[in-house]
Every structure is written in structure tokens, then in C-alpha cells.
């Protein structure tokens, strides 16, 4: 597991010195946006479930 995380970190570092995204300064921000969107959706769906449970 440690090897997987270490290598993922290496790829993220390389992201900083390679192509930049068009909308934000770093790809990390784009990834956080996508994951944040997922969290928001899960919360909304959960609220829907609770409301009509």
C-alpha cells in the first residue's frame, strides 16, 4: 500500500512541472473539485433519503 501511495505522490509532483490545466493553477484543484462535487451529491442524496424515509 505504501508503494502505491508513494508512486501516486510522484505522479502528482510531476503534474506540477508538466502541463497546467486551463481553468485553475494546478490539477490538484481540478481533482478536488470533482471529488468535492461527489461529496456534495452524496450529501444531497442522503438528505433526500432522510426527508422521505
Amino acid at each position: 500500500m505504501g508503494a502505491v501511495v508513494a508512486n501516486l505522490g510522484k505522479f502528482l509532483y510531476l503534474d506540477r512541472v508538466n502541463e497546467r490545466p486551463p481553468f485553475f493553477r494546478r490539477w490538484r484543484t481540478v481533482y478536488l473539485l470533482v471529488l468535492g462535487n461527489l461529496l456534495v451529491l452524496i450529501v444531497l442524496f442522503y438528505l433526500l433519503t432522510l426527508r422521505y424515509a
Partner: protein, 572 residues
């Protein structure tokens, strides 16, 4: 179907195909034919990735799943955004650096040609089986609902797709998928509004939600960890991330879509688009199914949705029992309908205790209704054991054909056929590319011209398309076709993803160890599937874990002196 429906259906499909062929004819070199010349912008990549996954099964079966089981299937997709991020970080830069045509070319750089051929072969077997089902599944449902001959329906889907895929290659697939996605999503939005319009005038959207909620159809998210429960947040995120990592990261039918991007940035943004939109899209399709469910609380549906099943029982020795069941069902449905109106009235009066009691009664009547439906299915099975009894795949198509106005029926059929074509095209394109690049060029004829390989690729498209069509036209499969697609994927994806995870992240494991581990794991996963009751979603992480574990063991013991290999060279 009316003349207007035929005009809408035919016109939509014809426009998509002719436009796609016109825009992409004349591709003569491999780069253009197999990678679209690396010219696609991110939104084309994103739409192509989404259209490839959204088959006709999505639009036929998913609303039916929500009708039967509510919204909880949306959790199945929770792992997808995380998988998109991991693929963007790791897989895409490597594929671009090595300038590969297929995902399996990378495996030769990292390991050896045997591992490459193994990965490619597993993909070819798995995807060839799925391609037949992608054509067969919608064909059998449409032919059953519309009375079309099954072989003709399969032919329409298969021949059209083969034609434009051969003609324009990857670019034709991507271009047509843009229009197909527009038709699919536009059609479903129209369907959603139409269903709301068809509800009784006194029933609005909020009332519809209350009715759906009272019968457990708005059960979108569950945080309970229950291994026997197929859909919850944990199985969706943990099990799903492995499935989607494998599907989007190692399955050539998806890899080929984002390798058409004009740069790493465009490919990544295409996947991010998928990561942002896929879950809401699936939620919306499920929600359409919930609205159909609500509609059928106010307009009585058939006890059993497959017409052939009903006709068979009615003309069999079980006809009297069938009549009695239907009489019971009529009474029960009317009781439930009355109670639902009463429930809505209590809500309006803000009488919470009375509303609570009414809701309990609705739930009870609903459960009795389910028992009647099970009895109906049992009767169908007794009358003719060869008939399908799982009828929720037919709910949405039955609803469209019965209640939608002229023109809209044609549009929704165009949605379903567009979805079938978009997925099949990606599959055939991927099958032919892998066969050409990983087998033919690598093992048999490495030094031919670009034009030769394009010709061979066209030939392979025709071959795989014909095989898939033959399978679709003459196979007679078990009733759970929709699950079969996911089961096939889950049985084969785990080992292939395991190979790629070792390739990307566990650098000390070398070729011989991973090759043997993958073969052993594939055998073990197949054995597990046939001999245990392990849920199919869990076969993915099991397969990955076994490859990593066995490969680690082999590398640390028998193969510890194998030299390390760097993957800086592009494969042949």
C-alpha cells in the same frame, strides 16, 4: 408505431450516421484511423466516454430498476469520480508519453510481450462476449415490445454501426457519439417532463415525491455496511472504484476514447467531465423510473409487463388462476390508489399522525401487491419455463408505447437505438484496434505500411462486428442479460487491473511474476464465481488483490534474481 414515429426515428438515426461518415471519410493512416489524429477537444472526449458507457441497457433497464427498487442503484457509480482522478494522475501521462494505440502496449514496455498479449487477449474475450450482448439485449426487448423480428432488430443496430465504424474509424465513432449523447439526454429530459405532464392534474412534483417516498422509492443512499446488500455507499465507493479503474483505465473501449484527445490536458478534462456529470446523469435516469412508478400508482399497470408471458398464461391450463390473480390485483390496486389520495390529503391538512398511519397502510398494500406479482411470475414460469420472468426491463418501454404521444415514441426509440449504437461502435473499434496492434502487427506482420494496417483494422471491425451480430441473432440467453454484462466485466477486470496496478505502482515486481500471477488469478476468480455466492462487485478487488499478492510472493521467492526493466522505451 405511427408514421410520425418512423420519420422521427429514421431521420434521427440517418442524420447521425450520414453526418459521422461525411465528417470522417478518407482516413488512411493509423494515427487518424485509430487515434482520431489526436485531434479531439475535451468535450468530445467527455461525451465519447459517457456515450460508450451509456448503452441501451442503461436506458431500458435503469428506469425499470428504479421502478422496482428505487434510487439506490445510483450508489453503484460513487466510485467513478475517484477512478477518473486516479486515471488522470497516473494512466494518461504514461499512455501519452509512450504514444500507445492500446493500453496493452504499455505492458510490453513495463514487463514483456507475453504479458502484453495476455492483457490484450483477456480484453478480446471479455469484450467480444459483451459486444454481442450490447446488441442482443436491446434487440430482444424492442422486438418483444414492438413485435419486430428479433433478427431484423439486431441487424439494424449491427449493420449500421459496422458500416460507419469501418468507414471512419475512431473519429467517426467520436463524432457520432456527440450527436447520440445529445439525443439520449435530450430525449430523457423530454420524457421526464412528459411523465409529469401525464400525471393527474391534481398531482404535482412534490406530491409525486411524497408518493414515491411512502413506498421506499427515494432510498438513494445507505451508510449501513452490509456485505449482503448489493448497493450502499461502501460497496459503491470501495468496490466501484476498482471496477471503474479497470473499465476506464484498462479496457480499450474506453482507453481508445480518451487517447483521441489532442493533449494530456484535453484527455484529462474529458475524464473530469465524466467524473462531474456521470453520477447526476444516472440519478436523473433513475428518477425518470421513479416518476414512471408514481404514474402507475394513478393509472393501473399490468400485473406482468411482458405481453408474451401474459398471452402464454392466458391460453394455458393456468388461465383460471391467472384470472383470479388479476381480480385480486385489481381490487388491491384500487385500494392502494384510494389510500394514496387519502395520504396526500392528510399531508395537505398537516395531520401527521393520520398521514403516518396512512403511509403504513400504503406500505402494507404495496407489499401484498409484490406478493401477487411474484405469484404472477411463478405462473408464467409454470406455463412456459423458457419465458423470461424478470419483467422490470420492459416497464419503461411499455410505458412509452402505451402513453407517449406520436413523435415522442419515435424520439425515445431513437434514444435507445442511439445508445446501443454508441456503445457497440466503441466496442468494435476497440476490438479491431487491439487485434491489429497487439496481435497482428506485434506478432505477425511488424513492418507493413500504415495503409496496410488501416485495411487490416477495417477487416477486423467487420470480423468482430459479424461475430457479435451472429451471437446476437442466434443466441438464446438467460433472462438476466443486464446483470450478465456486469458479471462478465467483473470476472475478467480484476486480473487485468491487477496487472496494471503492479505495472504503475509496484515497480519491484517483474514480468514473469506478474504473468504467472495473472493466469492463476484468472482461474481462481472464475472458480470463485462458479462455486461461491460472492457478490460480483467484490470479484474486482479480489482479482486485484490476488494478482498483487501472488506476484509479490513469486517475485520475492522464485523470481527474485530477475533483472528490473525500465519502461522508457516505446513498444513496437
Amino acid at each position: 408505431m405511427s408514421s410520425l414515429d418512423w420519420v422521427v426515428l429514421g431521420g434521427t438515426l440517418l442524420f447521425i450516421v450520414v453526418y459521422g461518415v461525411w465528417k470522417t471519410h478518407g482516413n488512411r493512416d493509423m494515427d487518424n484511423y485509430l487515434r482520431g489524429g489526436n485531434s479531439m477537444k475535451w468535450w468530445t472526449v467527455g461525451l465519447s466516454v459517457m456515450a460508450t458507457q451509456a448503452s441501451a441497457i442503461t436506458f431500458l433497464s435503469t428506469p425499470g430498476q428504479a421502478f422496482e427498487d428505487g434510487l439506490r442503484f445510483v450508489q453503484f457509480y460513487f466510485g467513478l469520480p475517484l477512478a477518473m482522478v486516479i486515471i488522470s494522475i497516473t494512466f494518461i501521462p504514461i499512455y501519452y508519453r509512450l504514444k500507445v494505440y492500446t493500453a496493452y502496449e504499455y505492458l510490453e514496455s513495463r514487463f514483456d510481450v507475453r504479458t502484453r498479449v495476455l492483457g490484450a487477449s483477456i480484453f478480446l474475450v471479455q469484450r467480444a462476449l459483451s459486444a454481442g450482448i450490447t446488441i442482443y439485449a436491446p434487440a430482444i426487448i424492442l422486438s418483444s415490445a414492438l413485435g419486430w423480428p428479433l433478427s431484423s432488430t439486431s441487424l439494424v443496430i449491427g449493420v449500421v454501426v459496422i458500416a460507419y465504424t469501418i468507414s471512419g474509424g475512431t473519429k467517426a465513432v467520436s463524432q457520432t457519439q456527440k450527436q447520440q449523447m445529445a439525443v439520449m439526454m435530450g430525449g430523457m429530459v423530454v420524457a421526464g417532463f412528459m411523465i409529469l405532464h401525464l400525471l393527474p392534474p391534481e398531482i404535482g412534483l412534490l406530491d409525486a415525491l411524497e408518493v414515491a417516498g411512502s413506498m421506499g422509492r427515494l432510498n438513494a443512499v445507505s451508510f449501513e455496511f452490509d456485505p449482503s446488500d448489493r448497493y450502499n455507499v461502501w460497496s459503491g465507493v470501495l468496490g466501484g472504484v476498482f471496477l471503474f479503474l479497470s473499465y476506464f483505465g484498462t479496457d480499450q473501449s474506453q482507453v481508445q476514447r480518451y487517447l483521441t484527445g489532442r493533449s494530456i490536458t484535453e484527455s484529462r478534462l474529458g475524464l473530469m467531465m465524466n467524473g462531474l456529470l456521470k453520477v447526476p446523469m444516472q440519478f436523473f435516469i433513475l428518477f425518470v423510473g421513479v416518476l414512471v412508478f408514481v404514474f402507475y400508482q394513478f393509472y393501473q399497470p399490468p400485473l406482468f409487463f411482458i405481453e408474451k408471458g401474459r398471452e402464454t398464461v392466458q391460453t394455458s391450463a393456468y388461465a383460471p388462476e391467472w384470472e383470479a390473480l388479476n381480480e385480486n390485483y385489481d381490487g388491491l390496486w384500487n385500494q392502494k390508489n384510494t389510500e394514496i389520495y387519502q395520504y396526500l390529503e392528510y399531508l395537505e391538512l398537516d395531520d401527521a399522525p393520520a398521514a403516518g398511519l396512512s403511509r403504513q397502510k400504503i406500505k402494507q398494500l404495496s407489499e401484498e401487491e409484490q406478493k401477487l406479482k411474484q405469484s404472477a411470475k411463478a405462473l408464467v414460469h409454470q406455463a412456459d419455463p423458457s419465458l423470461a420472468t424478470q419483467d422490470y426491463d420492459y416497464v419503461f418501454i411499455t410505458f412509452i408505447l402505451t402513453y407517449f404521444p406520436e413523435g415522442l415514441v419515435g424520439l425515445l426509440l431513437a434514444v435507445i437505438l442511439s445508445a446501443a449504437m454508441s456503445s457497440t461502435a466503441s466496442e468494435l473499434n476497440a476490438l479491431s484496434t487491439t487485434a491489429t496492434v497487439d496481435l497482428y502487427r506485434r506478432l505477425w506482420k511488424p513492418d507493413a505500411s500504415d495503409q496496410h494496417y488501416v485495411l487490416v483494422s477495417r477487416g477486423f471491425t467487420l470480423l468482430w462486428g459479424s461475430l457479435a451480430l451472429l451471437f446476437a441473432m442466434f443466441a438464446s440467453l438467460a433472462e438476466n442479460l443486464i446483470e450478465l454484462v456486469n458479471i462478465i466485466g467483473s470476472v475478467f477486470y480484476g486480473p487485468v487491473l491487477g496487472i496494471f496496478i503492479v505495472a504503475f505502482y509496484i515497480r519491484w515486481i517483474q514480468a514473469r511474476a506478474v504473468f504467472l500471477a495473472a493466469i492463476v488469478t484468472q482461474g481462481l476468480v472464475i472458480a470463485l464465481f462458479f462455486t461461491t455466492n460472492v457478490g460480483y462487485l467484490w470479484l474486482n478487488p479480489i482479482g486485484v488483490g490476488l494478482v498483487i499478492g501472488i506476484a509479490s510472493l513469486l517475485q520475492a521467492t522464485f523470481f527474485r534474481t530477475d533483472p528490473a526493466k525500465t519502461d522508457t522505451e516505446s513498444p513496437r
